[in-house]
């Protein structure tokens, strides 16, 4: 087959759960068990070929029960996408959309239109598992990208090299790999010709290619000479000999935290080139690779953390608070920090951890027991056991268990001798335990 190593160990619900975290947004109630029954190959196949979208669960709404207004209301673009992550029947498609949002990181900060951003998002969704060459073509003429990296400012009369440079440095080749400053400039010339108008009260409209603004002259890019246009730019970058290694290593890094070994990287590159730059076979091979199942965990991104909690709880989108909460944790969708995307190596620090604390608090809010009414056992062991059961028995390490038990023992002891405390503390402890589990290291990484 592909020549890429495949995992041949036991594929149980633990492995299936890891797959669901890496290729999606974590399992719903019994999803990991169901997926495990398929076995590795069929499980991956079901993710890579998911069929039509069939959303699961109730429609999203804002805090007042109104439908979302993702094009217009501030922050509801974030909520709109988060809802898809929570309700999708095609988790890998949504996950790949997130990958491309980070890869071709475009921020509404520079675009100024939630509609154009969501259109770009749909582009990622539609082409996310197809041909990278086609994806690059689409991105290159995408209005949000044209605004973000000055594509419509780039004309024959005076080229703007912003997109031409990042196209090579960040999107296809990597910094300083296989191109020169001259290539950047010539590439910018090839990319000239996109235009758009600006209408008061409407914004940027009428995106088009106008040959009058295109530089029709001869360009030399990567030692090749011709009257290149933007499509040639895309083709030259994708067929550049340094592109497959860049593509494979970068794509891999979204799924596995350690770099692929040389043989794996080589086989994946072959798969990519022989498959004519199709994304799906490479993703499929990565999802079956032993490194995904046997290697270390990855820290979840804030959005993955949030969507994962909601999926596990079976809670639909019923508040817009997730926008500012995820922003506090370091990831507001449609607003990556710069064209390089988010830094996946540094999600956790004392500020962003606090953001996750409040995400967990909000996620658990509807489930909180009323200390005045709820009955809970006053036995520490039982309380901890029940809280772990609430989260469907996640495996927790000794330190986390010790933290939970210490809290519970101390709080149960505090209640001794006072009747109201003996009634009210156990439900409070149960609430606290559920929250602590949700912020435990085991919940922060998958």
């Amino acid at each position: 087959m592909s020549g890429v190593a495949a995992y041949r160990g036991h594929f149980g619900s633990v492995q299936a759960e890891r797959l669901l975290w890496r290729a999606g947004f974590g399992p719903r109630a019994n999803e990991a068990d169901e997926l495990a029954k398929l076995g590795l190959d069929d499980a991956v196949h079901s993710l890579v070929y998911p069929g039509r979208e069939k959303f699961v669960g109730p429609q999203p709404h804002d805090d007042k029960g109104r439908p979302l207004a993702p094009y217009d209301a501030w922050g509801q673009d974030h909520i709109w996408w988060l809802d898809r992550m929570v309700r999708t029947s095609r988790p890998l498609v949504e996950r790949m959309t997130l990958v491309w949002h980070d890869w071709f990181a475009t921020s509404n900060q520079g675009v100024g239109s939630q509609r154009l951003m969501i259109n770009q998002n749909d582009l990622f969704r539609e082409h996310g598992l197809g041909s990278f060459h086609e994806l690059l073509n689409r991105v290159t003429e995408d209005p949000a990208m044209l605004l973000w990296l000055n594509g419509t400012d780039n004309s024959r009369y005076s080229p703007n090299e912003n997109y031409g440079r990042e196209m090579m440095e960040l999107f296809t080749l990597g910094a300083g790999r296989g191109y020169t400053e001259l290539d950047v400039r010539q590439n910018a010339r090839a990319l000239t010709g996109f235009r758009n108008d600006w209408k008061p009260n409407v914004g940027d409209v009428n995106f088009r290619f106008d040959t009058k603004y295109h530089d029709p002259g001869t360009k030399t890019i990567f030692h090749k000479t011709g009257k290149f246009t933007w499509k040639d730019s895309c083709r030259l970058c994708v067929t550049h000999p340094d592109h497959p290694s860049f593509f494979v290593q970068k794509l891999w890094s979204y799924f596995v935290p350690t770099a692929p070994d040389a043989a794996t990287a080589r086989s994946l590159q072959q798969l990519y080139v022989q498959g004519k730059y199709e994304i799906r076979p490479v993703v499929s091979a990565i999802l079956r690779h032993p490194a995904l199942y046997e290697g270390p965990r990855m820290v979840k991104s804030p959005v993955l953390y949030t969507a994962g909690l909601l999926r596990r709880l079976g809670r639909p989108i019923d508040t817009t608070a997730w926008t500012w909460l995820d922003s506090m944790a370091g990831q507001q969708l449609f607003y990556p920090p710069n064209v390089g995307g988010w830094d996946d190596t540094r999600w956790l620090d004392t500020a962003t951890w606090r953001g996750r604390w409040w995400i967990a608090q909000y996620a658990l809010d509807p489930y909180a027991l009323d200390p005045g009414k709820a009955k809970q056992p006053d036995d520490a062991q039982k309380l901890v056991h029940d809280a772990i059961g609430f989260w469907r028995e996640p495996p927790l390490g000794v330190r986390t268990l010790n933290a939970l038990q210490t809290f519970t023992r101390n709080a149960v002891a505090d209640a001794k001798g006072q009747k109201w405390k003996q009634q009210q503390y156990p439900p409070m402890i149960q609430n606290g335990l559920r929250h602590l589990i949700a912020v435990s290291p085991e919940f922060q990484a998958a």
Binding site: L170, P257, M298, T400, A411, G432, P441
Partner: protein
């Protein structure tokens, strides 16, 4: 394996996208504790140290030492003679030097900048061809007082026009992608102590790569007073018990991600406890500045106000890093964006200087303003400029010589084959001079190949 991927020539995601940050921060624990602005009102310095900064530090590296050791270290260091302090201010994005100091006296300027060319303003006393951008009036004013050294074309040979790469070079103090400690971090590794994280402070949400150390602890502090935690229907004693518990998540874990998550929880716990005294119910600031800082929604001026107060309290700081406000990657519509950022930066730095002077501590503080590159001499068609090479930098303080380092090379013969300004001073030479003449350490211990660079005289 994960270690290798950051150093190999293949491009891991972190290497590629955030090379500067990721590499400079490698080997250090994830970002730690946050910040107390000196809520120093009514607190004695000793108490300020015990309950304030020492307590609330973001501690990087050397984390085997407990916090009490840090507090003692800070107290010990603070009882010594006040140190010289270097404040690094980064204009992120590649500031357009040819607008900051516009070469209006160069005959080619208007040809290269038909729409962007500035006209009029204050000429630079040392070179009548150059004029201060109106938004930098604050710095120009200090220049008139001989408190500013101008570097009109600072850079390095074989300039790299990638934001990520060039910035990394400036951060590590070498044109190398392999170094993973900042140049000021290595200075601290050379002269710092294992128990004083305040020696290097990043006033940001995360550690500035310039300060990344291999051995000694450094800190990051952001905004002060809102480090609160709560839960649903858990209160009183039970809430206290609950909040006490998450510090137990930490400890040596075999899985690196679990290890990080546990360690950050421990740091959060430490920070939360230490910041409790700073969470005032009425939310008032403890900083009283003798001067007025610019009003802005950007925290830059208030960070500088806090820094001045901390320095006045004789806290043992040696190097400090901040990011300047503003957008400097001006590929389009440059005039407005640039002016806005420059104005707030320059006005804030003027206020900071006046603050230090009013507090009588100006002689021990020097500010270094830098950007990863300048911009192309020829404007593009979008009323903007693309990535260039040499740019403009400043040294600000009462002790600077106020004598230009390098000269403006002129647009006739001073552009390279790509149409970018050629450098007349190397940033590593300036680093070496700062280390030796201001911070008092042999630059050979910090800057690779330091002996090759001719040191300019910086200090009066």
């Amino acid at each position: 394996m994960s270690d290798d991927c950051l150093h190999c020539n293949g491009l891991s995601r972190s290497r590629l996208l955030h090379k500067a940050i990721a590499e400079a921060g490698r080997g250090l624990p994830a970002i730690e504790p946050g910040m107390p602005m000196p809520a120093g009102t009514g607190l004695s310095r000793r108490r300020f140290l015990a309950h304030g900064l020492g307590a609330a530090l973001a501690v990087y590296g050397a984390s085997r030492l407990g916090l009490s050791a840090f507090e003692e270290g800070i107290a010990a260091a603070a009882s010594g003679a006040p140190q010289k302090v270097l404040v690094s201010v980064f204009l992120e994005g590649g500031a357009d030097g040819m607008s900051v100091l516009s070469p209006q006296g160069d005959p080619l300027y208007k040809k290269l900048r038909p729409t962007l060319a500035l006209s009029g303003g204050t000429p630079l006393a040392e070179d009548g061809r150059l004029f201060w951008h109106p938004a930098t009036s604050g710095i120009a004013q200090l220049y008139g007082e001989h408190k500013v050294t101008v570097m009109p074309a600072i850079g390095y040979t074989h300039p790299d026009q990638s934001h990520f790469t060039s910035r990394h070079y400036w951060e590590v103090g070498a044109t190398s992608t392999q170094l993973n400690t900042g140049w000021l971090g290595r200075y601290l590794d050379a002269v710092g102590t294992l128990d004083n994280p305040l020696q290097g402070v990043s006033f940001d949400d995360s550690l500035a790569p310039t300060l990344a150390t291999a051995k000694v602890p450094v800190a990051a502090i952001t905004a002060p007073d809102q480090y609160d935690f709560g839960s649903n229907r858990v209160w009183g004693e039970v809430e206290e018990r609950m909040l006490e518990a998450f510090g137990l998540f930490g400890g040596q874990a075999t899985d690196p991600a679990l290890h990080t998550a546990g360690n950050v929880a421990v740091q959060v716990d430490r920070l939360r406890r230490q910041l409790l005294p700073f969470r005032s119910a009425d939310g008032t600031s403890g900083i009283q500045s003798p001067v007025t800082y610019p009003k802005s929604s950007d925290p830059f001026p208030s960070k500088l106000a806090g820094l001045a107060a901390m320095l006045a309290a004789n806290l043992p700081m040696r190097v400090v890093a901040l990011s300047a406000p503003g957008e400097y990657d001006t590929h389009s519509n440059e005039p407005g964006a640039l002016a806005q950022g420059l104005q707030l930066t320059s006005d804030s730095l003027l206020a900071f200087q006046r603050d230090l002077e009013a507090r009588g501590i100006a002689d021990r503080v020097l500010v270094h303003v830098w950007s990863e590159f300048g911009r192309r001499a020829q404007e593009n068609g979008s009323a903007g400029t693309d990535h260039g090479a040499a740019g403009t930098g400043f040294l600000i303080g009462t002790r600077v010589k106020g004598q230009m380092i390098g000269e403006f090379p002129g647009l006739q013969s001073g552009l390279d084959d790509d149409g970018n300004l050629v450098e007349t001073a190397d940033f590593r030479a300036v680093y070496a001079a700062l280390l030796e003449q201001w911070l008092g350490v042999d630059a050979g211990r910090v800057i690779p190949g330091a002996s090759a660079f001719q040191r300019p005289g910086l200090i009066a």
